[in-house]
Amino acid sequence: MTNRSYQSWAGYPVVDQEARKLNWQSDSLPLQDSDGKSFLPYGNGRSYGDVCLNDGGIVIDCRGLDHFIEFDAEHGVLRCEAGVTLQEILHFAVPKGWFLSVTPGTQFVTVGGAIANDVHGKNHHKAGTFGRHVSRFELLRSDGSRRICSADENTEWYQATIGGLGLTGVITWAEIRLRPVKSALIDQEVIRYSNLAEFFEIARASDQDYEHTVAWIDCLAQGDQLGRGLFIRGNYSDTVQNSAVRQPKFNLTVPVEPPFTLINKMTLKLFNTVYYNKQRKEQIKGQVHYKPFFYPLDAIYQWNRIYGSKGFFQYQCALPVEHMEDAMREILERISRAGLGSFLTVLKLFGDKPSPGLLSFPMPGATLALDFPNYGQKTLDLLDQLDEVTRSVGGRVNPSKDARMSSEDFQLHFANWRKMEDYIDPRISSSFWRRVTAES
């Protein structure tokens, strides 16, 4: 049965796939009467592109694997099923003084999805990727076998599954290491800076003393102001200075999908200019709750709908340290010249903490992420232009955000992809994997 609720976050491509549910870790995979069709584990559907899609096949919805199993309150080690979301973990752990060691920009992803995409966050320079904090997990394969995987046990399976895009099997449960916090608050500083050179200066100066760093940039600024934006840095608060800082209520949503995108040149220019200028001062310090700090977009539930029924493309590239400044400038120039761009463009320096994952995306250097309304060929042409720059400096495009990179680029960016094929479950496949491994 086709189900419209199992699509990707960016709404492109739209596929025809059957959904089945796995609700108990003790159950076997729901593959009865599947006529040999391939399947793919599906978490909360927050991947942007087609890594979570399996056109013509089956997706196994693992959101029902949502039980906590064990918590070591002394060391902050949590064992839970793979369909538990990061939101549920924070709800559970923050009052006990623990936080996720790594979190992406939304708390609406599952633990299984976070492992499969080896997600990263604002503290990559300090903590690396999510996979570094996963001590072990159980991998259930289509032949019914179950493996406990860790750095010491079934090591190759551990490495292939972290960042493995769900292809190696179904993660039924995982054990993750949390980090201690003294409150739910962040000491935040927001610095207004005026061009790309300043970004790199502030970012380098901040990475030592701040656990979390990221910049929002005005992607339409040009010339001397190219790359201008707000640099946001913060640390977990040790003391609560302002008891008035409360958890914000999540009550906004985009109730319907408009037939066309609400993001166009005019609204973009308006938003980017207003956002950049919302802060008159050079620098503002304050305490904020972790939700607006880490998850600003989660406050608008289903914000993806503003791009309309054609969906959008998210583009995230990583550029290696040696060439990151020039390449980033070139990429931003190409975007701003095209006049296409998003209301949330983020720029960040990656650190050098290695991930155990075979196909992990981050590399030491800089990363840029932004989304583009789907205007068809016009948008695809720009993205191809950005790929040229990324490719020329030996960078990478993030699979969990992608819906269109060429198989040549993927195979060039992720040299381990052939090794990965040894660990892929024979019954598992995804739209993404078929696309990027197609013979060209």
Binding site: M1, N3, K21, W24, G64, H67, F68, I69, F92
Partner: protein, 245 residues
């Protein structure tokens, strides 16, 4: 600290309700068929804040165990303040039309076992003079329809049984809540295409929890089903019999 018994504890709605009870710090006793699932739930609810979790494995068709399962729950929790009965199946209507055996079995699972459990529990609560009995019935019990009247008849029996029980126990200070869910996205309804009227079990559990706290008698969940059913019930039989509902 509330003492809560949940029968049919592995159903999706019961699981989400149990999470809310655990966060409120209840002591909980879970009853369901599968021991392995009960053990998964027990670990989960303890971590979510339940003061204690006990489990008992039982198939609801084992009538002769109903009294002893209730007794053990009372013993392990040291009393009972709240019971939720949530077990059930969704019969294959077409198959039931060809088989009285199947119809009888579905009627047993969805009505008679509940009535049996309620018989034991009602006497306990009546004597104790307080507490809440919460039973998941269904909007399907409000009017028979060709697409699922076996299920509807069983749930309708439960609904009317509960009406009488509420009437009997009101003077003892015991609240009886008849929960009537509409379309809920759960494993029981996995084979149905989902539309705008469908709600998540999480949402439904929140609504049921509010109905328990608010000492409601009849809870349509989500709320709009009260009005949908009002319309469906008011259609004259001459017209209704020609509809394909």
């Amino acid at each position: 600290m509330r003492k809560t018994l949940i029968i049919g504890a592995t159903s999706a709605i019961a699981q989400d309700l149990a999470k809310l009870f655990a966060e409120a710090g209840d002591s909980i006793c879970l009853v369901a068929r599968s021991e392995s699932k009960l053990s998964i739930l027990a670990d989960d609810l303890k971590l979510r804040g339940a003061s204690s979790v006990a489990v008992q494995s039982m198939d609801v068709l084992e009538y002769d165990r109903h009294q002893s399962v209730v007794d053990s729950a009372v013993e392990s929790l040291d009393g009972l303040d709240l019971v939720v009965i949530a077990h059930g199946t969704l019969p294959d209507q077409a198959a039931c039309q060809q088989s009285l055996d199947m119809t009888k079995k579905e009627f047993e699972v969805n009505a008679l076992t509940t009535i049996s459990l309620l018989t034991h529990l009602a006497n306990y609560f009546e004597e104790k003079q307080r507490g809440s009995i919460v039973v998941i019935s269904s909007v399907a019990g409000d009017r028979g329809r060709q697409s699922n009247y076996v299920y509807g008849a069983a749930k309708g029996a439960v609904t009317i049984f509960l009406q009488g029980l509420r009437n009997r126990l009101a003077k003892s200070g015991v609240n009886v809540v008849t929960v009537k869910p509409g379309f809920v996205d759960t494993p029981m309804t996995a084979d149905f295409p989902k539309g705008a009227l469908w709600a998540s079990s999480e949402r439904v559990a929140k609504d049921i929890n509010n109905a328990i706290d608010g000492q409601k008698s009849i809870a349509y969940v989500p709320w709009f089903w009260r009005y949908i059913m009002l319309i469906i019930k008011s259609i004259p039989e001459v017209i209704f019999k020609k509809l394909s509902l």
